[in-house]
Symmetry: C2
């Protein structure tokens, strides 16, 4: 009798545990990606299993733009930079005739971006240099809590993907340490990453410009200087992971070719590994784009995912909802 | 009666709590530094107190050499580098006539170091370049688990300071996140920091050379290249803290002038702050040195600590024991 009761409790606990795992991802359809995620997490967290991974090694890295929140029609940080240029223009009369600033001020945003990454980097530096981290953090916070997306009219942070928020929480509930590893500016993400994603500043790796340490009015300050520190994209992702985190992730999540090297680095480690691409297939609820897109192109990555058996999420088919506000 | 019982329980709990705090630092004498540490921790962890600091902001940064473990007669990593040069010499016949390598191979270690930081950096690069992080990590682990200190004949990791190990654990028990911020090589510290200090690799900030990402035999690898990435000393400490951690510490611990800017940056933040210098005053159990020392000089920092009221630990007077093995 006692034995049976114990066995019942055990079966009940097992069932409860599986139910709990299923409930942790309510915005995911019961399709292959959700099953693959749960199978991986259960595999690495089951003590005694040959694939068990100690808690301290449960490192999961996430791209940000297009993986944790939307990125169309242009990376949200670009809109922030354009808004900063407009706000700073009165202090920079020379920008009226200086590209790419002149194009931004005339709202020719396509022209402003036509110079590629180097031009964007120049604008990035121009809007951040000379400020302290505290000052810049305040500017970011003011913008992120007021600026609205042109299509949805929502705050940008409301365009974080609900299924990915659930995935972050599910991994953390299983003792994973979640990191952002993004080509975006680290100082642009850190002021809100903890509130929106539950990822603290020290677990955000991103692109950056340098700072210098000096004294102003007898007080020590750090000041951003217009000098590139680190580009955390493509090859830069595994490099940034090694430099800032110092261990190879066991799971990586991305959506573009810029995440491919992170996936390659992750999957080449020994033991169980999980790589997942978010594939933007939902023209109605989000956007549909991949091989031909300028923003967030997924071409080589998609081919390699198919060959290597990485999980590919079709937003249209695998997600019940995309944004948290769809629950309203 | 009931009221009295409750009050008794309350008083008992208060006493137990203080006792617990005291017991967390058994290798510290009951002198001013221990009292200052406990007062600070109780102040920032007491909910409702005006000085309460939320858990996520309880960032504590520790220098390594001379603060968490000994650093005499030369930084332990220098000994590692010399041992590496000796081990690699057969593959580098040119080192026999090339400085500083020639001096190392002749055991003229003073001559080898006479070129200053730049020379050391060159040796650092020569012994790490061309390897993968996994390969280098294995070399470090092999060395750190076998090499012995010339005076104590102990493993170098046995020369971590027992009072500081207790302090790290005490802070973590109070929900602090503990980081190393060291001028030493990040790749030299990470392989053993978790085991020795309970500080995981991702919470170690240090000096580094760059890596490149490439494919070898179809496998993605990172390879160290002989190019400076970051020097995490003096001004580099607040810069590294901002870049890697992204928040200002509320407590910092160091032992030399190379930690001064970290202390200045920490103490200039608003709200309660704690800075502590380990002062090497114990010629018998450890070493006695400060203003005139080549290794770990504490001169300007000592002056500023006195002016600013930072806590200065006299190893001789404030620590019951220095090394864990004294308990044997």
């Amino acid at each position: 009798m006692k034995k049976l009761a114990l066995r019942c409790i055990f079966v009940f606990l097992l069932a409860a545990n599986t139910a709990l795992a299923a409930d942790a991802l309510p915005s995911w359809n019961d399709t292959a990606p959700k099953k693959a995620i749960i199978a991986f997490v259960e595999e690495v967290t089951k003590e005694g299993s040959p694939d068990f991974v100690p808690q301290s090694e449960r490192i999961a890295t996430f791209d940000n733009d297009g993986t944790l929140w939307a990125e169309q029609p242009i990376y949200f940080q670009y809109t922030f930079i354009f808004d900063r240029i407009r706000a700073l223009a009165p202090q920079h009369p020379e920008w009226k005739s200086e590209e790419p600033f002149a194009s931004v001020l005339k709202d020719d945003l396509k022209d402003a971006l036509s110079g590629g990454d180097k031009t964007v980097l120049g604008m990035f530096m121009a809007t951040q240099s000379g400020m302290t981290p505290d000052e810049f953090g305040k500017v970011v916070t003011d913008w992120i809590t007021t600026a609205r997306h042109p299509r949805t009219r929502r705050l940008y942070t409301e365009m974080a993907y609900q299924p990915m928020l659930e995935l972050l929480a599910y991994l953390r509930a299983n003792a994973f340490k979640t990191f952002i590893v993004s080509g975006g500016g680290v100082d642009f993400m850190r002021p809100w990453s903890e509130k929106v994603y539950g990822i603290p500043p020290e677990q955000v790796v991103g692109s950056s410009i340098k700072t210098k340490f000096e004294f102003r009015g007898g007080k020590p300050v750090l000041i951003y200087v217009p000098e590139l520190d680190f580009i955390d994209n493509s090859d830069g992702k595994p490099i940034g992971i090694q430099s800032r985190i110092g261990r190879r992730p066991i799971a990586s999540f991305g959506n573009s070719d810029g995440d491919l090297q992170m996936m390659q680095w992750t999957s080449a480690g020994s033991g169980p590994r999980f790589c997942l691409y978010v594939h933007h297939t939902d023209a109605k609820r989000e956007w549909a784009y991949d091989r031909e897109s300028v923003v967030g192109r997924l071409d080589k990555g998609l081919d390699e995912a198919l060959v290597k058996g990485w999980t590919v999420v079709s937003m249209k088919d695998d997600w019940k909802i995309v944004y948290p506000f769809e629950k309203e």
